[in-house]
């Protein structure tokens, strides 16, 4: 078998394994919890009439959690991989470079000024502000860091954007009109899949899917960017379109995700890094497996949080940050060594 054929079959195998992993994680999320259910009970819960207890647990509590985990994880994995391809830098991740915190800032602004609603179009206000925040951050980042792709520049710009967004969020908390609003914002900021409904899933899904679609259209361009902007252009890649699609796609998807579940950090950093060797470091081929891997990681992390004794109080975003921050440090050192 020739090398490309081996990679092709390997890629299919990789995607298949990750898909199985996601499915297993999703099923475990449905089965396990404060009340452990059997497979038959889960199936009954999925089909039973609404007033049934099983239906309540499976359809109202666990299913939205699974679907949100799936969407958010896929968005974070995919966006991380896309950012890393676009910036040609393994440390570019929506959380690290400040896109997630600007999305959170946008959402906080909407909540703080009482623009958030839950009925009809008003429900879109928080995600819209989140997406706008993400877009602003991405554009700033791109303007500053795109010419000089050095690790240091990217991380420093990320620090600046994160610090600024953090300061404004703190200001909102500081001036918050009542302690309930403050604790609401604070808990939401920590990042969690708990207590979300199918309405939240319905709100996120179109943006996640459309954003993801735009990113997947960039696969070929990201592949060519391996050789730098100029050669990519001489290979027939429309760089403006590539950058527009990647930036707009990640802003939509990450902005909407963060405004619904809060910031769940480092998924986009860890997952593409682990998958990269399996796809021969190809930025285009990294996209789909990273989405699947992101979904699997978020679902398993959420499962761990739920099953841990006393874990009901633990926030998913805190757990991913605890895992991700040391990993980021390791990656930073490794990258600096490699790029020297």
């Amino acid at each position: 078998m020739s090398l490309p054929a081996r990679i092709r079959s390997g890629l299919t195998g990789l995607n298949l394994s990750l898909l199985i992993l996601v499915t297993v994680a999703g099923f475990l999320e449905l089965l396990l919890g404060p009340v452990d259910l059997t497979v038959a009970e889960v199936l009954e819960g999925l089909t039973a009439p609404a007033e049934n207890d099983l239906a309540l647990i499976v359809r109202e509590i666990r299913l939205p959690r699974v679907l949100l985990g799936l969407l958010v994880g896929a968005v974070l994995g995919l966006s991380g991989a896309a950012f890393q391809g676009l910036f040609k830098n393994p440390l570019a991740e929506p959380g690290v470079v400040g896109v997630s915190s600007c999305a959170a800032l946008g959402a906080v602004i909407a909540i703080y000024f009482g623009l958030a609603g839950s009925v009809g179009l008003a429900g879109l206000v928080v995600p819209a502000f989140g997406m706008a925040g993400a877009l602003v951050a991405t554009v700033i980042l791109f303007a500053v860091a795109s010419r000089d792709a050095s690790v240091l520049t990217l991380v420093l710009v990320g620090i600046a954007i994160n610090a600024f967004a953090g300061a404004l969020i703190s200001l909102a908390l500081n001036l918050s009109p009542n302690p309930f609003a403050m604790s609401d914002i604070l808990l939401w900021l920590l990042g969690s899949l708990a207590n979300r409904s199918m309405a939240d899933v319905a709100l996120l899904a179109p943006f996640a899917i459309f954003g993801g679609f735009l990113i997947l259209l960039s696969a070929r361009g990201l592949e060519a960017l391996t050789l730098g902007d100029q050669v990519a252009k001489t290979l027939g890649i429309d760089l403006k379109r590539l950058k527009l699609f990647t930036i707009f796609g990640t802003s939509l998807a990450v902005g909407a995700s963060v405004s619904i579940t809060g910031a769940i950090g480092f998924v986009g950093l860890i997952v593409p890094h682990m998958i990269r060797p399996f796809v021969g470091y190809s930025p285009g081929r990294l996209l789909v497996p990273s989405a699947l891997g992101g979904a699997a990681l978020v679902l398993f992390a959420d499962l761990a949080v739920r099953l841990m004794p006393g874990g009901q109080q633990l926030r998913l975003g805190v757990v991913t940050a605890l895992l991700g921050a040391p990993f980021f440090l390791y990656l930073l050192m490794a990258t600096r060594r490699m790029m020297r």
């Binding site: 070929r220 730098g228 050669v231 252009k233 001489t234 290979l235 490699m338």
Partner: protein
Amino acid sequence: MTAIEVKNCSVSLSGCEILRHITMSLSRGQISAVIGPNGAGKSTLLKAIVGLVEISEGEIAVLGHPISTYQPELLASTVSYLPQQPEVHWPITVERLVSLGRLPHLVAYEEISGDHQRAVSEALDLVDATHLSARTVWSLSGGERARALLARALAVEAPVLLVDEPVAALDPAHQLQVLELLRKKANEGLSVVIVLHDLTLAARFADHFVLLNEGEIAAMGSASEVLTDDNLRDIYGIEAKRSEGAIIPWRLNPPG
């Protein structure tokens, strides 16, 4: 038949005029060497031909059609370009690197197979890099890397190849190997435009010479018309020794 026709072309970069009123015509199936001192505008000329820098006036045509009328994919499969300092941002394998040269011919998500695979294997073979195909680009020596990158440019199988200093990192044997390879491809019909600093190699392998100086064409034509003692003295500020057609830069010769 002309491969590249440049008519009264000027290029300005950040307010500075890099190329002024360049007019030249390069034939198909020839090696045209673009030579000149540092900062003469050689690399910019190549970039202008492949559409990487905007021209402020004039027109550039490739194979008889102005480059502004080409669809990006068609231009990409017509003109292949290897920059002076090529970048490779991920530790991909040499085979993967070379297969990126097939991108202009592929539709999205199409995998390399059949004719594309043949082109990749041939390009690797041409630069004597088949044995490197499974190595990562980052692990190669300077010379191996330069050959792998040239294979990437050859894998496009474009009728026009623009290469900017492709042999600077190579040892003499590989320099000769690469230039002989380009010579052979030119004899088969490939139009090659090459930026070279090594006048000896240029004189030995090129059919046509374009001597640039401070953004203008100082001389153009065959070796005997361009590589004259006067030009070497006035433009490079050197005196050369000649031996059996070879030109050996010998000592500095301040103009005047």
